[in-house]
């Protein structure tokens, strides 16, 4: 038997198996007979919570978390179950409540940049950018072109970072250990890029109100282009190894379907909403940082199941790579901070010659700037959905009130809807593909 014949035989076998799966009665294999009182419930029944499981046993409550490996941190779920089927899920949040919003009110505006990335620590640039954009809108600050372009690059790299952790740990929840090592290989390279530009692997705190804290190092754009090539190869690997894996597809296809109208009613945003077929993306719809000048697509899917939500992240890698490539071409030398001395610190060398610079430096460091009275909100698109900081200013040097619109918190409501009627193992799949970050949920 030659190699070609072997291939042909394998293809034939696969096709037979596929046909059997689609139409079990067509094949020669005998279909397992089911006794009348042992029927599988239809999906319609499951969606209405009437599980057709025949052993109508006592309904049991199962506690999952808050210390559980599959809950992405410290989420606690109380699951009411009939046999293996989930009847009701009650999430209990707040085990990571850190008082972000209260702390913001007691720090100056520039100090708040340190806090913002700690909320969503996987896509920390999204919160950082959103906070900074809101304060800049309040101040009417002018951000230089170069700073905006670098912000776009880092924002998209951060999105890739978040999706990489999603691919790694999301499949880890389903019992696949290998993707973790593949995804974290690229994640380490990505964190090297972050470290080169801001000196820290996570929770960067690199943006400042009015620009960036410092310019990027020499040779950094070349590092990014090298990483993009690596990333493209990586995405191909993920697609062939995991996304096309029949075991994974069997566990994810048709699980936890969220129709578009329900998704809008539940307030979903981000990839979870786009997986349901609603092309809502703040980068296109409410452009910030000049996103309207970049050429990219908003990927959507019409399935709305867990597989679509997983694929949405894989496809977004490609779009992010496209945006970063375009932004790298636009990098021109120039200032990276608003030259307004009332907002940004003077350069270090000026402090030795100019008295004014010393006064500005002292005032900015001890007291900070005073934005005018007003209330602002700038929506941005994070890896999880719409992030926005509603900032109320009373003219002081600290925000009067900061409200974080956290996408994970709102997205988590879909869990209660999507899990009803699913099996318990599917609950883990649905939770993994909704991809909440508990720091973002609890704030």
């Amino acid at each position: 038997m030659t190699l070609k014949d072997k291939d042909r035989a394998a293809v034939k076998e696969r096709e037979t198996l596929r046909d059997l799966r689609q139409n079990p009665d067509s094949g020669t294999l005998p279909r397992p007979q089911m006794t009348p009182d042992h029927q599988e419930s239809t999906s319609a029944e499951r969606l209405h919570g009437q599980t057709g499981a025949l052993l109508h046993t006592e309904i049991m409550s199962l506690n999952v978390g808050p210390q559980h490996p599959s809950t992405h941190g410290v989420l606690r779920l109380v699951v009411d179950m009939d046999g293996e089927y989930v009847i009701k899920v009650t999430p209990h949040m707040g085990y990571l409540h850190s008082g972000f919003e209260k702390t913001f009110e007691n720090r100056t505006y520039q100090q708040g940049v340190t806090y913002a990335p700690r909320t969503d620590y996987l896509h920390s640039f999204s919160h950082e950018l959103s906070y900074v954009l809101s304060v800049e809108k309040l101040l009417q600050a002018e951000v230089p072109e170069r700073a905006t372009t670098i912000r776009v690059i880092l924002h998209e790299l951060g999105r890739m970072h978040s999706h990489l952790v999603f691919v790694g740990t999301g499949l880890l929840d389903l019992g696949a250990l290998t993707p973790f090592f593949y995804a974290f290989r690229e994640k380490e390279s990505l964190q090297d890029l972050f470290e080169a530009v801001c000196g820290y692997r996570m929770n960067q705190g690199y943006f400042r109100v009015g620009g960036l804290s410092r310019d990027i190092p020499d040779g950094w754009p070349a590092m990014v282009s090298r990483f993009l090539i690596q990333m493209e190869a990586g995405v191909k690997e993920y697609t062939t190894l995991f996304a096309n894996n029949p075991i994974f597809q069997d566990r994810a296809r048709g699980v936890g379907i969220i129709p578009p109208d329900v998704a809008l009613d539940l307030g979903l945003t981000g990839p979870n909403l786009r997986a349901s077929g609603v092309p809502l993306d703040n980068r296109k719809d409410n452009p910030y940082c000049g996103y309207e000048t970049y050429d990219f697509n908003v990927v959507t899917s019409n399935d709305g199941d867990s597989l679509a939500r997983f694929n949405m992240r894989l496809w977004e890698f490609g779009e992010s790579i496209k945006i970063v490539r375009q932004a790298l071409e636009r990098l021109r030398p120039g200032p990276v901070r608003d030259p307004n001395r009332k907002i940004s610190l003077p350069p270090r060398q000026e402090l030795e010659t100019s008295m004014e610079a010393v006064i500005h430096h002292f005032k900015l460091v001890t007291e900070g700037f005073h934005p005018p009275i007003g209330e602002v909100y700038v929506p941005t698109e994070s890896a999880r959905g719409e992030v926005g900081y509603y900032i109320v200013s009373d003219g002081g040097s600290m925000p009067y009130r900061v409200k974080i619109r956290a996408p994970s918190f709102v997205n988590l409501q879909a869990l209660e809807y999507a899990c009803v009627g699913a099996q318990f193992a599917d609950l883990i799949t649905i939770l993994a593909t909704i991809d909440p970050v508990l720091g973002d949920v609890d704030r």
Partner: protein, 178 residues
């Protein structure tokens, strides 16, 4: 080598032939120190770096600590990774109580060690007030290398090779502790 010979001959003579002598306590401590199994107690950002420490580049498995157990009953060391809120503190104490003796705690990150930047109503200011901590790791979050260094320091402590700030040798854990 027959057992009779082991008893009859001088121990220095035996050592020169490659036979090693140790107390059973030290042997147990050596075994323990090289298979510290952590309980996953990932809370916040530090949990991501804790996961990073097991990946291909950092490879915590070199020190025998890569087996993160979801159940506290199979773990020796609890890595408290992240900010501990007051709502979570009783749960952490319960998880700690469920771990079998002997057990150790690594407090990973500034938030767990001192409250860090979150000096407010919601965060426990020091994990040491809830469970006894052996190693504090600074950083926000600490790099994986820092965590690996902490594990190495803990191994020293388990083997009885660690010293406190005043230079006194810290006692080894009793081998027969329940």
């Amino acid at each position: 080598m027959p057992l009779k010979e082991l008893i009859d001959r001088d121990w220095q003579e035996l050592e020169s032939e490659g036979v090693l002598f140790s107390s059973l306590e030290k042997l147990v401590a050596w075994g323990r120190s090289n298979s510290l199994w952590p309980a996953t107690f990932g809370l916040a950002c530090c949990a991501i770096e804790m996961m990073s420490s097991t990946n291909g580049r950092n490879d915590l498995a070199r020190f025998g600590s890569e087996v993160f157990r979801a159940s506290p009953r199979q773990a020796d060391v609890m890595i408290v990774a992240g900010r501990l809120s007051k709502k979570m503190a009783p749960i952490m104490r319960r998880v700690y109580d469920q771990m079998p003796d002997p057990k150790w705690v690594i407090s990973m990150g500034a938030c767990a060690s001192s409250g860090g930047m979150f000096n407010n109503y919601a965060i426990v200011q020091n994990v040491d007030s809830v469970v006894p901590v052996d190693i504090f790791v600074p950083g926000c979050p600490p790099r994986p290398e820092a965590l690996i260094y902490a594990v190495m320091q803990l191994q020293k402590k388990v083997r009885g090779e660690a010293f406190d700030q005043l230079g006194n040798q810290l006692p080894m854990v009793d081998a027969w502790t329940r």
